[in-house]
Symmetry: C2
Subunit: 325 residues, 2 copies
């Protein structure tokens, strides 16, 4: 049963000790939503904890007051109210769920269509581009405080979950909220700069090493790139340096399937695959190699040398493309 903002506000007003949770490996929408709601409730005089399994990722430490967000304590605690944000199912709360012992009421606020509506008061808006946008509408509609650090956090959440206002989930209301947040004092450019325009020098060096080796097959319908163990060691590559690299080849006009090969330790290769055509289901292909995902974005870990895996996977994708297009 869908709760109204007003019912949620009522539950909050009756609670004192409140814990705000979000999913494992939190993205900026998770962190921004947690932070904004936590700061607002603190200002209402509530005793607020904000936990997720991994705590605050380094890349979001620039958000004011973000130190509020912690990994859960090892000993479970009791609360009047627990609020899960941006978390498609309760298991994705990970250790943060186990750190909540007794609680009178669970609230679940999210924008994932797959959310099974766990909890006592549930507000799922699968059209909302970001949970941050739902939190903003909630604070606004209930007249809850929006301190400046909370406004920043909402802006960061919305900006990242819309790919900087580029994805199909953006509506006129999203832009309107952007305008309202800027009017309230958010420095959008400073936040965007921290989110998108500050990467380490090694990222450019990494691109300089892998882009010259991009490989096109099947009349440029397949594009692939490889990252060797050697390059990773040499440039001291961190996991998030690799995020989004596949987009460099996915965005090439005639490409239908983009593949990223990453040489792992222990004789394995991680593959990421993207399809731009519904007739080529990369989830199906990756499943055959023991992986999975979605029809347009999937992955797998495959035993073998980089060359063996490349050749096997490229052959399989070539076959699928020839058959399907």
């Amino acid at each position: 049963m869908k709760a109204s903002f007003h019912e949620i506000a009522g539950a909050i007003s009756q609670a004192n000790r409140i814990v705000i949770l979000s999913h494992v490996r939190p993205d900026c929408d998770a962190i921004g939503s947690q932070l904004a709601l936590a700061l607002s409730l603190q200002q209402l005089g509530k005793e607020v904890s904000a936990w997720n399994e991994d705590g605050l990722p380094e890349s979001y430490r620039f958000l004011k007051k973000s130190a509020l967000i912690h990994q859960p304590p090892s000993e479970a605690e009791d609360f009047d109210l627990a609020i899960a944000l941006d978390t498609a199912n309760q298991e994705r709360l990970g250790t943060a769920l186990r750190a909540v012992r007794r609680v009178n009421l669970w609230i679940n606020i999210d924008h994932h269509a797959s959310n099974p509506c766990y909890g006592d008061l549930v507000y799922i808006d699968k059209i909302a581009p970001a949970t941050g946008q739902i939190v903003y509408e909630f604070l606004l509609s209930e007249g809850f405080p929006l301190p400046s650090a909370a406004a920043d956090a909402i802006y960061a959440a919305i900006s990242t979950d819309t790919g900087s206002f580029r994805y199909a989930n953006v509506t006129a209301r999203t832009f309107e909220i952007g305008a309202e947040l800027l009017r309230s004092g958010v420095n959008a450019a400073a936040i965007a700069n921290k989110l998108y325009e500050s990467y380490p020098k090694r990222r450019v060096q990494l691109l300089g090493q892998i882009l010259p080796e991009v490989h096109f097959d099947a009349d440029d319908q397949i594009a692939s790139m490889s990252l060797t163990k050697k390059t990773k060691q040499q440039l001291e590559i961190q996991p998030d340096d690799i995020d989004g690299l596949i987009d460099y080849v996915r965005s090439v006009e005639p490409v239908v399937v983009a593949i990223f090969f990453e040489e792992l330790p222990e004789g394995k290769v991680r593959i990421s695959m993207r399809s731009k055509d519904d007739r080529v289901d990369v989830n199906k292909i990756c499943s055959e190699f023991g992986g999975g995902g979605h029809p347009r974005a999937a992955g797998a870990r495959i035993r073998g040398s980089l060359e063996e895996v490349r050749s096997k996977v490229l052959q399989r994708v070539f076959h699928e493309i020839t058959k399907s297009l």
Copy 2:
């Protein structure tokens, strides 16, 4: 003397044959502004030409009705009214200027701070993030038509000139206009996809050639990249393949000034420069080399070999950084 929107609208209403011009190597703000104004004036029954030296770049052909934009004819023509958009000085109109013979009145609408206010009716708003935003405000305030293709063009102009709503020039009003355009039917995600996520194979090959040669100076506060004539020929590079390349180095964390050097035919080098710190004004530096622009984004064309220009410009920037930071 700054003209009002109303005076500009008056001049338009009295004219019949109107030419809308923009700068050489048009970016999406130039094209989008030209296209939006041209479509609006056509709908008012005007006989409109829209020219720029290079015509319509391939990457903006997706804009509806963009075929309206042409290279100037070889034989000069007469007009009642000429309108220059997004063009910081009249010389930047290039061959498009020479194709205008007699004209009763010149209008100059722009957002470049360095614009010397050429023309009879001048509207410079150096705070506006895009000339497209000025054109939009003009059409709105004067009740001029905004056909759907014009709304798309304005959206594309604003999106690109703000780096997808990320730059410091974005204001609450910019977001509000985004909301208004989406409400009027603009498909923002489809436009963003064309602008940012579809490029030719040669773009990846180009990155593969220039990124390994990126050069860092002054403790990584200066990053520079170069594009030679040879690479351009070999990959058949079009001018718009080069757009945004400078962002690859601008976004590196410690970089304060990013510089792009492009070897031109006739023994010249085109430089683009970006600053991430208000204390380093790249408009000032580029002006010394005969160019101009904004404090944080400027350019110039300099006579000399690639090596000579690189060394001269890097030295000048090094000096400025040492002095200012």
